[in-house]
């Protein structure tokens, strides 16, 4: 069965390591913060200028001067630091963030990602997404594997305007964990109860499934 939003977040959380600085995009990636293993410390970077983002505030703590990149009110954890936007993107673009998690509309076998714009609809802008995909070595894209109509989002070539070129190596969909390598999708794990053939059927780009593909464990 396809992963729920919570399961997607739980699976991403398994990629965390103790001492990681992590940038979480809006949507599903945000949920990852709820599943940090107890024996592990990670710090969340918010690209509007905060390292050490905490949980949402209690009513009494709400502060208009303390928001995240999604413009939501947040708190800081102990040991947080605050800085301007150039410094924040120096961290991101300089490769200092250990893991970046973000959503996408499409990815392709060349590691391209499209995530910010659907022509004909309102152009809202790329915000920090282009910086994040270009700056990080370690990126996990979370997305649905295909549209509700069954149209694959894992393509030979992205059809939408790109957010970044050749920068994505790991994709977690509601059906599969996939590595992008040598111009192919490589199936690493299946969502529980989902078969390799089901995944192949919903993957437009070439999907390599070598040997026994394990189910995800939660």
């Amino acid at each position: 069965m396809a992963l729920s939003r919570e399961q997607l977040a739980m699976r991403v959380a398994q990629e965390l390591q103790d001492g990681y600085y992590v940038n979480l995009g809006i949507g599903i990636p945000t949920l990852v913060a709820n599943y940090v293993p107890d024996n592990m410390d990670v710090m969340f970077q918010s690209e509007n200028g905060l390292l050490g983002m905490g949980e949402f505030p209690q009513e009494s703590q709400v502060d208009a001067d303390l928001i995240n990149a999604g413009k939501q009110t947040v708190t800081t954890v102990t040991g947080a630091s605050i800085f301007d936007s150039a410094e924040s993107f120096a961290m991101i673009r300089g490769g200092h963030v250990d893991l970046t998690v973000l959503g996408a509309f499409e990815v392709d076998t060349q590691g391209n990602i499209a995530s910010y714009m659907i022509p004909g609809k309102l152009i809202k802008g790329m915000g920090g997404a282009m910086d994040l995909v270009a700056g990080a070595d370690n990126i996990i894209v979370t997305m649905t594997h295909a549209s509700k109509a069954g149209v694959s989002k894992l393509l030979n070539t992205c059809s939408l305007p790109l957010t970044g070129k050749g920068c994505i190596k790991k994709v977690l969909t509601d059906l599969a964990l996939i590595e992008i390598k040598d111009g192919q999708f490589h199936l690493l794990e299946r969502a529980p109860g989902v078969t390799v053939n089901e995944i192949k059927a919903l993957t437009e780009g070439e999907l390599v499934a070598n040997g026994d593909i394990p189910e995800m464990q939660f």
């Binding site: 918010s46 690209e47 509007n48 200028g49 905060l50 949980e55 949402f56 505030p57 209690q58 009513e59 709400v62 502060d63 208009a64 001067d65 303390l66 928001i67 995240n68 999604g70 413009k71 939501q72 009110t73 947040v74 800081t76 605050i82 800085f83 301007d84 936007s85 150039a86 924040s88 993107f89 991101i92 673009r93 391209n112 309102l122 152009i123 809202k124 802008g125 790329m126 915000g127 920090g128 997404a129 282009m130 910086d131 270009a134 700056g135 305007p161 790109l162 957010t163 970044g164 070129k165 050749g166």
Partner: protein, 233 residues
């Protein structure tokens, strides 16, 4: 010390020198740390055909959105403009020119403009529409695009505290683009919550040195929250 006293007491004097067709660089992220009083004064003054450089363009009722509604903006350079219905209409009609710029590139362009760096290379945007017409160059086996810096005829900034010399301190994530906007302006004007005497700010804790600041005014705008989100547990 008369020479460095940058305090202006009347909003009608704070925008002296701002003219139609100029480029205005503004601090703020969403509605956080925006110089609302200065924006309102640009509206009152009615300056037109502005090129505005800011991460966002406010909402229909707040932030730079009020200048958009009032048809004072000719061109907008921003990274994300999703919160303003009026924006879409003006853009679609061709009335408003828009240059979408990645957030980190925008921040770096402002800093570079203030620091005398006319252009720099970045991997951000390589292979995307942002790279159209820009030089691509390889360094150490990776592709980068050349981005030119931004300077403003005027910068409008929101800080927490200023001393009368224009040394600035920002509060929490209201800092965002404000120190960069302060650097990028030929004339930089700042709205603050508190004005203190020189010496009250620790030299080691000043975020923006007064050399970047031309005028300071005490503001009284309400701070707004776009996404008031509270803990559920």
């Amino acid at each position: 010390m008369a020479g460095f006293n940058k305090v202006v007491t009347d909003y009608s004097e704070i925008l002296y020198g701002l003219e139609d067709g100029m480029t205005v660089v503004a601090g703020g992220f969403g509605l956080c740390g925006i110089p609302q009083g200065l924006i309102d004064e640009i509206k009152r003054k009615g300056t037109r055909d502005l090129t505005v450089v800011s991460n966002n363009c406010g909402t229909t009722e707040h932030g730079l959105g009020v200048l958009l509604v009032n048809r004072q903006i000719k061109k907008m350079i921003a990274s994300y403009v999703g919160e303003n219905a009026n924006f879409e209409a003006q853009m679609m009609s061709g009335e408003l020119e828009v240059e979408l710029t990645p957030q980190g590139t925008l921040a770096e362009k402002m800093r570079a403009g203030g620091a005398g760096i006319p252009a720099f290379f970045t991997a951000t945007g390589y292979g995307t529409a942002v790279a159209d017409g820009k030089e691509v160059r390889e360094f150490n086996g990776r592709q980068y695009i050349m981005e030119e810096s931004i300077t403003g005829d005027f910068s409008i900034v929101k800080a927490w505290k200023a001393d009368t010399f224009g040394n600035l301190v920002f509060r929490k994530t209201a800092r965002n683009f404000n120190p960069l906007a302060a650097m990028a302006g030929k004339i930089t004007v700042v709205e603050v919550e508190e004005i203190v005497q020189p010496g009250e700010l620790d030299p080691d804790e000043i975020h923006t040195p007064g050399i970047y600041v031309n005028r300071v005014i005490l503001g009284n705008s309400e701070k707004l929250i776009e996404q008031r989100t509270v803990a559920t547990k």
